[in-house]
């Protein structure tokens, strides 16, 4: 899947996250999180996994998280990719 336009998914509520995706030449993943110190590596791991599953190799992914669990991260990122991506 390739990101062809800007898209977003999610909310700012506690235990949720917002995902912003946009087209870019390279792949970058930016993570802001209220629990960044403790869990950034796990959030990143999950995001990388979803990106790999969806075959996304370029784009700018920006996540602002408020302590979402891994299935929420997966669902929000998948939704954002479906909104902004083209197979």
């Amino acid at each position: 899947m390739r990101i062809v336009k800007k898209a977003q998914a999610g909310t700012m509520q506690s235990s949720d996250l917002m995902v912003f995706v946009e087209p870019a030449e390279t792949l970058t993943v930016e993570i802001d999180s209220t629990v960044k110190k403790q869990f950034e590596h796990l959030i990143r791991q999950k995001i990388d996994l979803v990106l790999a599953t969806q075959g996304v190799t370029t784009g700018k992914i920006h996540v602002t998280d408020r302590g979402a669990l891994d299935y929420a991260i997966e669902a929000r990122l998948e939704t954002a990719l479906k909104r902004g991506g083209e197979v």
């Binding site: 977003q8 700012m12 509520q13 917002m18 912003f20 930016e30 802001d32 209220t34 408020r66």
Partner: protein
């Protein structure tokens, strides 16, 4: 559920709600959003460009999820409208509520706090990190619309007095000359000065966010707070990483807003141990050189006049084919910016 408030009755209810919560209702927003409970508003917020404002939550409903709901809605709309960064002005006591929503505090000054969504300032500072030079450094923040011999004089004089001088060119595109042109003419105009670095201000100095009144002609109490906040942000967050201990400015004989900004510099910056140095403007026999004179002479196609006020590099560009549309625009628009 968050609803957009568009009809007159809803807007007027929102106005009452905002005022009842001790905020000022300002017109000129892009979205006004609210949450109703049993037909009554319990939360309101608005977005104007990349700024979120007039956020108010019914006191009995505070510390719940409403702020997150309203802000989510406004951030989504701002993102859809194409804004990369979003900012919020609030009272200092509410800053932590926004920090919990992944906003980061830029600066607190007296009764106002400015936060941004995400970590744009840190990223901007990181991207400029390789430009940092050791020593007792100075800074000027300039619009350069366009670069004149006056700017050149200020830069030369300032560069003499410090180890290294950073020239921050205002990024906000509200001027006749677009940012890309303004910064290029500065770079060309100072190429032979050894100890200067030219960079841009991003959103963080004299921008639509920190100091919108600069781009209008207003001078009111709000403009005064904005100026001081803009300077506090510079002093607290930008000056320290760059090792800036002196900020330079040209004396301002023409524009009341800029003169007020210079005065605010002298009030605010010394509190952060930053010295303010005003440098007398370079004069010709027609008075102090200013970019607005250049634009006026350009509008009259008085090329001899223009040549007296700008360096070779600026003159060459102004005469080039690339500048045709700008010459046209200067003709039509004989305003301040």
């Amino acid at each position: 559920m968050v609803t957009e408030l568009t009809c007159a009755a809803d807007v007027s209810a929102a106005r009452d709600f905002i005022q009842r919560n001790g905020l000022t209702f300002e017109n000129g927003f892009d979205n006004l959003a609210g949450v109703f409970e049993n037909g009554k508003l319990v939360a309101v917020g608005a977005r104007a460009g990349n700024i979120l404002k007039m956020l108010a939550i019914e006191p009995s409903h505070q510390s719940g999820a409403l702020l997150g709901e309203i802000v989510t809605d406004l951030v989504n709309r701002g993102f859809s409208a194409g804004f990369e960064s979003l900012f919020v002005y609030t009272k200092p006591e509410y800053a932590t509520s926004f920090e919990a929503l992944n906003f980061s505090l830029l600066v607190c000054h007296e009764r106002v706090a400015l936060l941004e969504y995400g970590t744009g300032l840190e990223q901007w500072l990181a991207s400029a990190h390789h430009l940092i030079r050791p020593g007792a450094n100075g800074a000027v923040v300039m619009n350069c619309n366009p670069f004149t011999l006056g700017h050149r004089h200020l830069i030369e004089t300032a560069a003499h007095r410090v180890d290294h001088l950073y020239i921050f060119v205002v990024r906000e595109d509200r001027s006749v000359f677009p940012f890309e042109v303004r910064i290029r003419l500065v770079q060309e105009g100072v190429r032979d000065v050894p100890n200067v670095t030219v960079l841009d201000t991003s959103h963080y100095s004299i921008s639509n966010v920190t100091f919108p009144a600069y781009f209008f002609k207003e001078r009111d109490p709000v403009a005064l707070i904005q100026m001081e906040l803009d300077l506090a942000l510079f002093a607290a967050r930008i000056a320290p990483p760059f090792g800036i201990s002196t900020r330079f400015a040209g004396t301002e004989p023409y524009c009341e807003i800029t003169a007020g900004y210079n005065e605010a510099m002298k009030r605010v910056l010394p509190n952060y141990w930053i010295e303010v140095v005003e440098i007398e403007r370079k004069h010709t026999d027609q008075g102090a050189i200013s970019a607005s004179q250049v634009r006026a002479k350009l509008a009259d196609e008085d090329w001899t006049g223009v040549a007296e006020l700008v360096p070779e590099s600026t003159l060459a560009w102004l005469r080039s084919a690339e500048a045709a549309s700008i010459r046209e625009r200067v003709h039509q628009n004989k305003g301040r910016h």
